[in-house]
């Protein structure tokens, strides 16, 4: 069923032979997490080595089946008996970790804080707690930061990263740079200055007046305290953010865009592929999940279904005990075929429009059941692997 577009490298398996990091990205709700997990599991079976899947929020049933219940930021090994249940023989080790945003932020602060006192002050700052716990964009940054950290520890041969669902699929790519910009911005210095000296120059006074009126003086003071503390970690942060950006464009890193052929996801996937190449990031593969079977688009079958619908009674005459029911069933069957045919043709058209130039292009059929165990993961993985 796997359709492969020849382009030198022909399978995801080959693609991964020289990669350390696969970043699975794309719109939400297309099976990104499951695809990432299945790729990691398959890599362990096919290639061996130590493989880590860094995930954001796996389906509970899947996490349970892999024995990942309640795992957190720390990497956990998926035991061989999980593979054994799927009659598979791992040639290496599969590890998994879940991204805990708050925990990762706290770790980052501990790493970069100049001294213990500053560290404690930051951790206790209400603004910091708000940012690290709730602030949506911090998720994007910390996912990439965590990837960097794990990669530099050098414990894994392959890391498959599942990116967090974002408002904009690109947020996480920009996150490290945004973080760097943020800490080096002139505005940051502007905002911090007045609480050291209220006698600011004429040019910036209107800004403070507006800010004060909108936010209230106390809140502004809270903000500035937070950033004064943060400034002590300024250079560490900038350096780190730059390193994270470098890692994403490293030749050992590749991106795998996952999507379905529904209208909205396809548009997002298309946009994403274009942006990856604009940023000179390596688009290794496009994986399309839940693709309807090809036979639905067969023009002969379509004609046949139309005539079955028209002459259902004649077709079923004498075949079963109740001819009326049989005729109705054949009518329903034919109509259902025609209905799904409309969707299958629409989706095939959308697939053709998916631009971008991945090394590998993979389609995965609609599975009869949800994927909730290692058997399912490896079955999906075999499709993706090629």
């Amino acid at each position: 069923m796997t359709t492969i577009r020849e382009r030198g490298r022909t399978t995801v398996g080959q693609l991964l032979a020289a990669k350390d990091i696969v970043v699975a990205c794309g719109p939400g709700g297309v099976g990104k997490t499951t695809t990432a997990a299945s790729l990691a599991a398959t890599a362990v079976v096919e290639q061996g080595g130590r493989v880590l899947v860094l995930t954001v929020d796996p389906a509970r049933r899947l996490a349970d089946a892999l024995g990942l219940k309640g795992i957190g930021n720390d990497e956990v090994r998926i035991t061989d008996d999980v593979f054994a249940e799927a009659a598979a023989h791992p040639r290496g080790e599969l590890w998994a970790a879940m991204l805990d945003t708050k925990q990762s932020w706290d770790d980052l602060i501990r790493t970069h804080a100049p001294d213990d006192e500053t560290c404690q002050q930051i951790l206790a700052n209400p603004l910091y707690q708000n940012i690290s716990g709730r602030f949506v964009q911090s998720h994007d940054y910390i996912a990439m930061e965590r990837l960097y950290q794990i990669h530099s520890e050098g414990k894994y041969d392959l890391i498959v990263v599942d990116t967090p669902p974002t408002r904009n699929a690109l947020d996480f790519l920009d996150a490290p740079q945004r973080m760097a910009d943020f800490f080096s911005s002139r505005l940051l210095r502007w905002l911090i200055v007045p609480y050291r000296s209220r006698l600011v120059n004429v040019a910036s006074r209107p800004f403070y007046q507006v800010a004060d009126r909108i936010l209230g003086t106390q809140f502004l003071a809270d903000i500035s305290e937070f950033f004064i503390l943060f400034q002590s970690m300024y250079s560490g942060f900038i350096e780190r953010a730059e390193a994270v950006t470098r890692l994403l464009s490293d030749r050992r890193t590749t991106f795998m865009v996952v999507s379905t052929l529904e209208a909205t996801p396809v548009r997002e996937a298309e946009f994403f592929s274009a942006e990856l190449s604009a940023r000179k990031l390596h688009l290794g593969a496009i994986v399309l999940n839940k693709v309807l079977p090809e036979y639905l688009r067969d023009p002969n079958a379509d004609k046949l279904a139309q005539s079955m619908q028209a002459s259902a009674a004649a077709l079923t005459d004498g075949l079963t005990e109740d001819p009326a029911v049989a005729a109705r069933v054949v009518g329903e069957v034919a109509e259902s075929f025609l209905n799904f045919g409309v969707v299958a043709r629409r989706e095939a058209e959308q697939q053709a429009e998916l631009k971008g130039a991945p090394d590998v292009f993979v389609t995965v059929p609609f599975y009869d059941a949800d994927i909730y165990d290692m058997t399912g993961l490896l079955r999906l993985g075999a499709q993706v692997w090629g």
Partner: protein, 318 residues
């Protein structure tokens, strides 16, 4: 008034759901339905992608509402424009000449102070409700991961900012958001594992962390029940190789793909109905669950929007 108000009688409806479940389609369908019932509707897109307007065959709108169909106005949220409007209306601060530094300052404050973006979004929506230019404001809201933060923003700001003009502004917003006769949330999902999990989680979080009431859960893309039980038995008989051969001969071509497609449809429907049951079992009693059929459509536009509106109307008993 007793009991929950009808969806169309609300003044502010947030339509949310996991990415890819069709919340924009539902928001458009709901707006269409309200319009058909003589309401003046404002449909607001928060993560502007121009999808709502395309579902009415109209070109994208900006912060200034524009009528895109009879009785239906559309706008897309722009927090910077919202800030500018806010400053002008409430603080009488002229911003025209200083928009450059202000925009940068705004970017900064919005990044630094969580809740500012959110409050400007929710604030604008509440303001439209208060000003009553429209009968109902339908929001194509952020995906379920973000909506709770947005709806909780006025409360969060209240906790974080002790004084200042923003503080003074959050009370009337909370009044509107907390009134179940004015404001409601509609959670959209599909009968699949993750969307159902996320919806159950969302409904709980909305109840625990915000003052907004969930008015309905809408299950999108529900596949039709192909066969009754006796019909399914007949279907199995027809799939026996010898019977299938006769069918193929009579039809003048192999019927295998046609039968196989029906089998796939039956299996998909069955897997999905398990998730649907799980959803219904997990939701609080009395929360309406509306079902929208899977649309076997060539493309999505004004035609499907009408179909969705029609299906919603039937589910609501209108």
């Amino acid at each position: 008034m007793t009991g929950p108000p009808d969806l169309l009688d609300l003044r502010l409806v947030f339509v949310t759901g996991k990415g890819g479940v069709g919340k924009t389609t539902v928001a458009a369908g709901l707006s269409q339905l309200a319009g058909e019932h003589g309401k003046r509707v404002l449909v607001c897109e928060v993560d502007a992608k121009g999808d709502v307007t395309s579902l009415f065959e109209a070109s994208p709108t900006d912060f200034t509402p524009r009528e895109i169909a009879p009785g239906i106005w559309s706008m897309s949220m722009d927090t910077e424009a919202s800030l500018r409007e806010y400053l002008k209306l409430h603080l009488r601060i002229p911003v025209v000449g200083r928009i450059g530094p202000l925009a940068r300052a705004f970017d900064f404050v919005a990044t630094a102070a969580p809740g500012v973006q959110e409050i400007l979004t929710v604030g604008k929506l509440c303001w439209e409700v208060r000003e009553a230019h429209y009968d109902i404001v339908v929001v194509d809201a952020p995906a379920s991961g973000h909506i709770v933060g947005q709806l909780a923003a006025p409360q969060a700001i209240n906790d974080l900012v002790k004084v200042g003009l923003i503080r003074g502004q959050t009370d009337w917003m909370l009044d509107i958001l907390s009134d179940p006769h004015q404001t409601g949330l509609v959670a959209v999902c599909t009968p699949e594992e993750m969307p159902v999990n996320e919806t159950l989680e969302l409904v709980t979080r909305v109840r625990e962390e915000t003052t907004v009431r969930t008015s309905a859960v809408i299950v999108n893309r529900v596949l039709p029940e192909l066969f009754s039980q006796p019909e399914e038995r007949v279907f199995e008989q027809l799939r026996k190789p010898e019977v299938e051969a006769v069918l193929s001969e009579r039809a003048g071509g192999t019927v295998t793909p046609v039968l196989e497609a029906a089998r796939l449809a039956v299996t998909l429907r069955r897997t999905r109905s398990v998730h649907l049951q799980r959803l219904q079992a997990g939701l609080p009693d009395g929360l309406p669950v509306l079902l929208l059929p899977y649309l076997f459509a060539r493309s999505f536009g004004a035609r499907t929007t009408r179909q969705v509106a029609h299906a919603l109307g039937e589910e609501l008993g209108l």
